[in-house]
């Protein structure tokens, strides 16, 4: 049911990054659910993690390891989040990391663990440890697409994206994968996404580049407003191209990275649980970005707006009601305009005089919908991306675990 999204048929590789998958039967018996990513010696690595106070054991451990050493391996499992599992959860993640470290001869701190899936169940350590050698055996620079499949949970389509850019007349590769379809409203962090480049980028610049890219992409999407316990996004720079990026702007690196992150983030929304629509909520003429986001998220999280989107019903009163309850105390409704694409539905705070229901219906029948709200208060603007609320969203989340 993904909206305007197909699984990539191939992904460009990144010299210095090898990926391998294996079937650990954590939750799924017919597909790979364990992924190992090997990072070349000497690479830089930046990461952002969930802001959920109940962050998962692998998040705690990945943060700790990242502070202690340069990562050589990422170990990612699908089907079990290892969250809400306390001290045992940390111990379990450590045991898995140690198995990979022992096998490859790196230090324990050079392995970062990542988990997604059901919260609160013990991690099946033995299954994971048993499957690690398979995944290591299959490590390959051509493994990106398999890895994109290996990290999926309720995703219906694998998500990946790659770019080749030219910096100082020399080629630089960027590739990334992501997973996520529900419990999606990343907050200063993201779902699971792994992105790599063969540029030479030091850690400080890399972290700054990742921060900017995530702010405009993963941190602007929401399926259900539920920020996960396990979100993480990692950006690796292997340096194998020999091309030095010492400033975010050099050679369009930041722009290409932004594009990769936005494409991956939008892919998560297009494959959002039960999604029939891909919806852009754009709020303009706010006094500042914060109030634009406040209005945009209120619309994007409104179950009434989302069910109207599912029905293809131009029930714009629900959008207006959401703007009105968004908490902007001194909102002058006389200055508010609301558009569905180019169709003006609300002008000067009330139904636009020229509005025809048929025009609204035409727009709402599309798979890709733009809701534009003009606040008439300033010059700030923000966009967020979201989906509709369908029977399938309820089915997927009522049946998951059963």
């Amino acid at each position: 049911m993904a909206v305007g999204l197909r699984s990539p048929t191939d992904l460009g590789s990144v010299p210095g990054i090898r990926l391998g998958t294996a079937c650990a039967r954590i939750r799924y018996s017919d597909r790979a659910d364990l992924t190992v990513i090997e990072i070349a010696q000497g690479a830089s690595c930046a990461a952002v993690f969930t802001q959920n106070a109940f962050c998962a054991a692998p998040v705690t451990l990945a943060r700790r390891h990242l502070a202690a050493a340069s990562p050589r391996f990422l170990l990612i499992n699908a089907g079990n989040a290892n969250a809400g599992t306390g001290a045992q959860g940390v111990q379990d993640a450590l045991t898995c990391c140690k198995a990979l470290a022992d096998m490859t001869g790196c230090k324990l701190e050079q392995v970062l663990p990542f988990s997604t899936g059901v919260i609160g169940e013990p991690l099946p350590v033995t299954r994971i440890v048993t499957a690690i050698p398979d995944a290591v055996d299959r490590l390959s620079e051509a493994g990106w697409l398999d890895a994109a499949r290996g990290i999926m949970t309720t995703d219906t389509v694998a998500k990946g994206c790659s770019r080749k850019i030219t910096v100082n007349a020399r080629p630089v590769a960027i590739a990334g994968i992501a997973k996520g379809a529900g419990m999606i409203r990343p907050d200063m962090a993201t779902l699971l996404s792994f992105i790599a480049t063969d540029a030479v980028v030091n850690s400080a610049v890399l972290q700054a580049c990742l921060g900017e890219a995530v702010a405009g992409s993963f941190n602007r999407i929401t399926v259900d407003g539920d920020t996960s316990t396990n979100d993480a996004c990692v950006l690796m720079a292997t340096g194998k191209s020999g091309v030095v990026i010492d400033d975010a702007d050099s050679g369009g690196f930041q722009q290409a990275l932004n594009e990769v992150c936005l494409e991956l983030a939008q892919a998560v929304i297009r494959d959002g649980e039960g999604a029939n629509r891909f919806v852009t909520v754009q709020v303009e003429e706010g006094r500042n970005k914060a109030e634009c986001l406040q209005v945009a998220y209120t619309i994007a999280h409104s179950p009434l707006v989302k069910t109207a989107l599912f029905a293809g019903d131009p029930n714009w009163g629900r959008i207006l009601a959401a703007v009105g309850r968004a908490g902007i105390g001194d909102l002058d409704i006389q200055r508010v305009q609301i558009y569905l694409h180019d169709v003006c539905i609300v002008r000067d705070g009330e139904r636009a005089s020229g509005y025809r229901e048929s025009a609204g219906k035409d727009v709402m029948a599309r798979e890709e919908i733009l809701i534009r709200v003009v606040l008439g208060r300033g010059k700030a603007r923000e966009s967020v991306w979201t989906t509709d609320l369908s029977y399938d969203y309820v089915r997927i989340n009522a049946e998951y675990r059963t």
Copy 2:
């Protein structure tokens, strides 16, 4: 599908209040959808209204009229919200009020209009004006139950409640009705509710009593987080009993009023759109009431928690994730306990060691579910009431208007 809720079979009357209904065919062709409530001369009246910036024309007008005169009539229609309708909407509401004022000989400002239903469509003024005489003809002190039915929209059950209390050895009556099933998250106001007593209560005391009663009832319920444009709650005191209430505490008046409001508010949740569960979210040991409410509403609005409630799935990881993302910056998760009724599912921030899935399943199979979160930070506590998120919620809101 209402949870543990039946339509009342009779409602106690309140001397000084008469109610009449009529079929105006605003949206429904087979039932009364227009209600007139007559208030005796000399009564006091208090009201609270929606805080939605896009408040409806009748809300604007009711506020204005209430400030100018003592109300003699309430004019209530179902099926059309007269919201997002600008200056024409105010004019339309005025025309309807004037028809009732002319017919009954009261002043225009003594009529308060109330509307609920679809937002953004012109009010069918002629149909309403034509039906007013019928409703006036049927005015009766015994009209409470008919009025409870007349104000319904997507409600499946009429909602009313009455009490007899004794103050200074003399009887005082309280009766109230309410409507609402979706677009429910009242904010310092409420859906539509009309409550009356025959006590003698001056306006200032009456407003204070209403404020307290609403704070603990209508302002603690949520179906979908969507605050309506049309919420209003009116409390009338006719004085016909001759019993003077000059202090909220006198003779248990405030307590009886609180009980009436809570029963009506909970009735709205029990009849929430698509509801299969009646859920109490109780947050204890917070530092203050605000943070208790923040956590309670984050749980109550989480689509993942709500779909798990629909499925009867003790997927407590979703509750834990919601607590973690509720925005309490310095939350010490080691002190957090989560219970389903008496079953402890999370202790010291992780899965309780004695927890058995079967015990969780037993609780989640009930129609009435208590989620208790103990924050371990202080002495404040708050409760909110909500429903699950079901296929029927999606169906009702995808089909409404079609």
